[in-house]
Subunit: 341 residues, 2 copies
DNA sequence: ACCGCTTGCTAATGCGTATTAACGCCGTAA
DNA sequence: TTACGGCGTTAATACGCATTAGCAAGCGGT
């Protein structure tokens, strides 16, 4: 019952028991080496003092000695807890947290990263990434220059989502968009579609490029016609698609799919009877629709989980593949049907 | 370009620059005492080395020496990122993150706290709360023993949600349930209700007790009849309420309200024509209902924000009220109408 | 009596930072 | 010439813990 304000330290316990601080540390850590041992009665005396005072080792000092703080940083260009609902990032974080809990690490959210030109920056006046043992990077698009610098500086990190090389291979856990997209196109081909379209950027973020690549590959493989249309305005896009005689549309962004479906309705086109729609992934923006879209699901939670797993392996120096692609789960849905045009 | 795995230290910078570790520390902390000063050119040399290496002070060491590292801890008894949707805690975290970003602190999520007896514990073998400068505690119910210990040990923390004294006043930012509840009851009274009920625990968590207290106060004030029924099964509860001739029900839990509305429907009772329903706060569990409930909204985001504000004040030693109650915003809704019984 | 071995413990050190006291230098006043 | 004070920097230390090397005592064997 020390009324003093100061925390009880091993030194205090040592003095109370008439032993050295080292002894207290040894007893605490239950070390049973041949090299260092403590007589049972001494051990008991120390333990009693510990119990009496309610002593707990200071985690800060412990980690100083450890050379590891067991913090995993989480960096996102947007706020980690977005204000908007229908949150795309949430599942990743669920996986990240679950795995972090499992391996006994705390998560450090870099909320203090200053916002420049409308988004956070990794590198800035005082880059706090180093505060953690390693970091998870989250975002549809990561600045290649910043990635390159991370690699050059040898900072342990893992990206959620595949990334192109940036002056070296980038450790990542991504979704296998090409394979998943190819599967969707094949399904459409089997249903008789011969003129299909990819609607979206198809470039910029790796996840977009990967989808388009899968689309293009499958189109060539099947020997059918595939057009690529950037999304601008629903009416314009739909005009173009109709001109090309497209019967199935593959949308990069779920939300764009919802908008196109609406436009189709306006033109008295039934989905999927007159026009098929396939959503290449989950909504990244809120989208309102009653349709049960055909497409695939990004294994977000699993990606988060495995990203932490890979990071952990990197930190432990355990070998292992540092680039992983996870399969997307197909969703049957109700917007893809037999071609009819 | 140090390819070594070790993190860069002040000592490294010092060696690179040909100065002492002390000098580096001084430059870093921008100390401008009369007692200790550094020539501008030396300072510049050091700063360049720091920039080149991307050095950041080890937060652990800093905290050991300095007692501060600009981390704010966030402790929750449940996972911070819950798997379920319709997440009750999310808005609190949005506010917490926003304010943390504002004051330039990073957030440390204590995901590593081990689960004992089905929930996380603050105190255990190595309590990591101290790793942060201060902590935000989140949860419907916080163990009073753990709170008492936090207070006794003088750990800086703030609870989101009002808490009873635990061996001393608990710093908190809570919602003013009593006032908000009184207002709802008064509204019902004005509409002619004379026999009303409170459905819920009304005890245990402070937030429950506060609601019931408001209810009781208002009932007494109005000189009407108020009964308290614990929620068990919808049918049972409804039976009891009908026996008492209740015309307006105040539910502690939104979800229970939804269930009761359903039960009412089963008995051909129209809401609100035959029976009024008031929800005392937002859903804490997912609830499916088409009803636009009358009641009030808990200022969750604002509570999170202000909790960080209070914590920051505590850490700075700035005075100020450490117990705040925020008003709840009334929601007109469509489930409270003129009494009819 | 000496060596060698075991047992039980401690002194010393390092981890990375912040702080304090002090040191050497230079110029100026006494 | 000496004393002195401002300037720029550093050596030393503390923080609380873990770890390593090593010390002292006891004991059996030659």
């Amino acid at each position: 019952m020390p009324s003093s304000n100061r925390r009880v330290t091993q030194q205090d316990i040592a003095r109370m028991t008439g032993v050295s601080q080292t002894t207290v540390s040894i007893v605490l850590n239950e070390r049973d080496d041949a090299a260092v041992r403590i007589a049972p009665e001494t051990r008991e005396r120390v333990l009693q003092a510990i119990r009496k005072t309610g002593y707990v080792a200071d985690p800060i000092a412990r980690r100083l000695a450890d050379q590891r703080n067991r913090f995993l940083g989480v960096f996102t260009y947007e706020p980690v807890f977005p204000a908007g609902l229908g949150d795309f990032y949430h599942p990743f974080l669920v996986g990240i947290e679950e795995c972090a809990e499992r391996i006994g690490c705390d998560l450090l959210l870099f909320t203090s990263a200053p916002v420049v030109d409308g988004r956070r920056r990794i590198f800035h006046q005082d880059n706090r990434l180093r505060l953690a043992d390693g970091c998870i990077l989250l975002g549809r698009w990561l600045d290649p220059d910043e990635l390159a610098r991370l690699i050059a500086e040898g900072q342990p990190f893992v990206s959620v989502g595949r990334r192109d090389d940036a002056g070296g291979p980038v450790p990542y856990v991504g979704a296998d968009y090409p394979t998943a997209t190819v599967a969707q196109v094949r399904k459409a081909v089997e249903l008789g579609h011969r003129r299909i379209a990819y609607v979206g950027e198809g470039a910029g973020a790796e996840s977009h490029a990967d989808r388009l690549r899968g689309f293009t590959t499958a189109v060539r493989e099947a020997g059918i016609t595939g057009v690529h249309v950037r999304f601008t305005e629903a009416a314009d896009v739909m005009d173009q698609l109709r001109e090309h005689g497209v019967t199935a549309i593959f949308v990069e962004e779920f939300a764009d799919g919802a908008v196109l479906a609406e436009e189709a309705g306006r033109r008295a086109l039934r989905v999927p009877d007159d026009l098929s729609l396939v959503a290449l992934g989950d909504p990244t923006r809120p989208a309102s629709t009653d349709l049960d879209f055909t497409g695939y699901r990004i294994p977000r939670r699993e990606m988060g989980w495995q990203a932490v797993e890979v990071l952990s392996a990197i930190l432990d120096g355990t070998g292992g593949e540092t680039q992983r692609l996870l399969p997307c789960e197909p969703v049957a849905g109700a917007t893809l049907a037999v071609a009819n045009a």
